[in-house]
């Protein structure tokens, strides 16, 4: 038998549990909100070992210092420190170490307390490979993001188009024939 006191006690316990959960959630959200996430912009995402690259940062915490580093499989290559201005922006040229191994990296901005506040994927290429990349006619990053589809010259083959059309007609005809046979079976 449950008494009125039992119910009151359970209600108190539930209230305490909800309160504790709320506090924990608040603490987690507070920790998550300590840093403002910034944006790193590069003129190109193909970096060349030994060359410099222009980096712009936006929407960082105002007047805060950060370390810019390349994070790769082999570890972290520090590229230098930077300080955002009173609007949370910075711009500077960064020198990619000549001894950086070619491969995929993340360029990260690390706040003074060790938290990562921005990142962007990049590739480090040896000088010769970068020249080949440019020669292939790849455009650099656009200035503004867009939701408009790219106007690409689609590869077309009349033979393929007509083969697909013939396949569609054959599938339609076969499908209709099978369904009509089912209808005939029913009668």
């Amino acid at each position: 038998m449950h008494t009125r006191n039992d119910h009151t006690r359970w209600r108190q316990k539930l209230r305490h549990a909800a309160g504790t959960a709320g506090l924990v959630l608040l603490a987690i959200m507070t920790v998550a909100a300590v840093h403002e996430e910034g944006v790193l912009k590069l003129v190109t995402r193909t970096l060349v070992a030994g060359d410099s690259v222009s980096v712009q940062g936006e929407r960082f915490a105002r007047n805060s210092s950060m370390t810019l580093a390349l994070l790769g499989v082999t570890g972290q290559l520090n590229l230098g420190t930077v300080r955002s201005d009173s609007t949370g922006k910075f711009a500077l040229p960064l020198l990619v170490p000549a001894n950086a191994a070619a491969g995929s990296y993340r360029l990260v901005a690390i706040a003074d307390d060790g938290d990562e506040v921005a990142s962007v994927d990049v590739t480090v290429s040896p000088a010769a490979a970068a020249a080949d990349h440019a020669a292939m006619g790849h455009e650099e990053m656009a200035d503004d993001p867009s939701d408009a589809p790219l106007a690409l010259d689609r590869a077309e083959s009349p033979l393929l188009t007509w083969t697909v059309v013939a396949g569609i007609v054959a599938a339609l005809a076969s499908g209709v024939a099978l369904l009509r046979r089912r209808a005939a079976d029913r009668q």
Partner: protein, 327 residues
């Protein structure tokens, strides 16, 4: 001779004659769309580069240089749309005829898991394009993973420093999720075979008679998807730029986008939790006829209606920033 060697007599088992109607074939037609997705996907893996900076270029190469592969990519995208539409139609049909009641509870739950896996495949597939929409979808996934705490850790960029998040999404899309899908699909089909479909009526028919109309509808589906792929090729946006929100997600995720408009980032977790929580509870809530069964049915209809309204609203409403990024 061949029939005996291939044990085709196993197809002679009886099923309710009513199961030869289209509304009982929606699950099998979803399987036909999944087959088209698998075949086209296998070809695409030969040309797609899952490295973050090579991904967009490889799709651009496919579109501009390879007519057959670019058409297969279009077919892949439209088959995904077809699979999502069919699986929801299947879900609605089974829900309406209460195909989840005893002894088919596990059959229903396996279907709910398959739906979740299909959403996972659609999401990881979107991300692989590495265009603006993909980068924003990935940013939402990372934000959701942060909200989810330790459970979301595998979806954070720093989880495995040796492999970029995009490459891990590719691994999910081409191996982990398809393997899970095949495993649960096998369970789903096993249960259908042994528990039977939930069709009313005394009249029976041989399963072989089911295959003919099913093949007919499957051929019509393939023809429709192929024609749409030819008429409206899949698009590709410009290479993704991180830190911005200018796009909306692939349409099957628009109801989640609408929830984010209403509840902020928490909407990304709330909306799927409500849907999948409800679907998981359906066999428990609606066991026999009565008030609870009526409430479950009304709740399902309202939820389904809300999803459609949310998709239309999100498609038509102006874009919103959910991650406090510039638009």
């Amino acid at each position: 001779m061949i029939a005996s060697r291939l044990a085709l007599s196993a197809l002679d088992y009886s099923i309710p004659a009513r199961a030869n109607r289209l509304d009982f074939m929606l699950g099998a037609l979803t399987l036909a769309a999944l087959t088209a997705l698998s075949v086209s996907g296998i070809v695409l893996t030969q040309y797609y580069n899952p490295a973050p900076l090579g991904a967009h270029d490889s799709i651009r190469y496919i579109i501009t240089e390879l007519p057959l592969v670019t058409w297969l990519r279009d077919l892949h995208v439209w088959s995904a749309t077809g699979a999502v539409v069919l699986v929801f139609a299947h879900l609605a049909a089974v829900f309406w005829r209460r195909g989840f009641r005893s002894p088919r509870e596990v059959l229903w739950w396996s279907g709910v898991l398959l739906l979740a896996l299909l959403f996972g495949l659609a999401f990881t597939g979107t991300v692989l394009r590495a265009d603006q929409e993909a980068v924003e979808a990935l940013a939402h996934a990372v934000a959701g993973a942060q909200l989810a705490g330790p459970a979301g850790a595998p979806f954070l960029p720093g989880f495995t420093p040796s492999s970029p998040l995009l490459t891990r999404m590719y691994g999910l899309h081409v191996s982990v999720l398809p393997l899970a899908l095949v495993g649960i699909l096998a369970l789903h089909m096993w249960l259908i075979r042994h528990l039977g479909v939930s069709a009313a009526g005394e009249e029976r028919a041989a399963f072989r008679t089911h295959l003919r109309p099913l093949s007919g509808f499957a051929l019509l589906l393939v023809a429709a998807v192929a024609a749409v792929s030819l008429a409206w090729p899949a698009s590709l946006l410009s290479p993704g730029m991180e830190g911005f929100e200018v796009t909306k997600p692939f349409w099957p995720f628009l109801w989640i986008y609408a929830a984010e408009n209403l509840f902020g980032m928490a909407g990304m977790l709330i909306a799927p939790s409500v849907l999948f929580g409800f679907l998981a509870l359906v066999p428990v809530a609606d066991r026999t006829d009565g008030a609870r069964a009526r409430v479950t049915r009304y709740a399902g209809v309202v939820l389904f209606g809300l999803m459609i309204i949310a998709i239309v609203y999100a498609a038509l409403a102006p874009g919103q920033s959910h991650l406090n990024m510039p638009m």
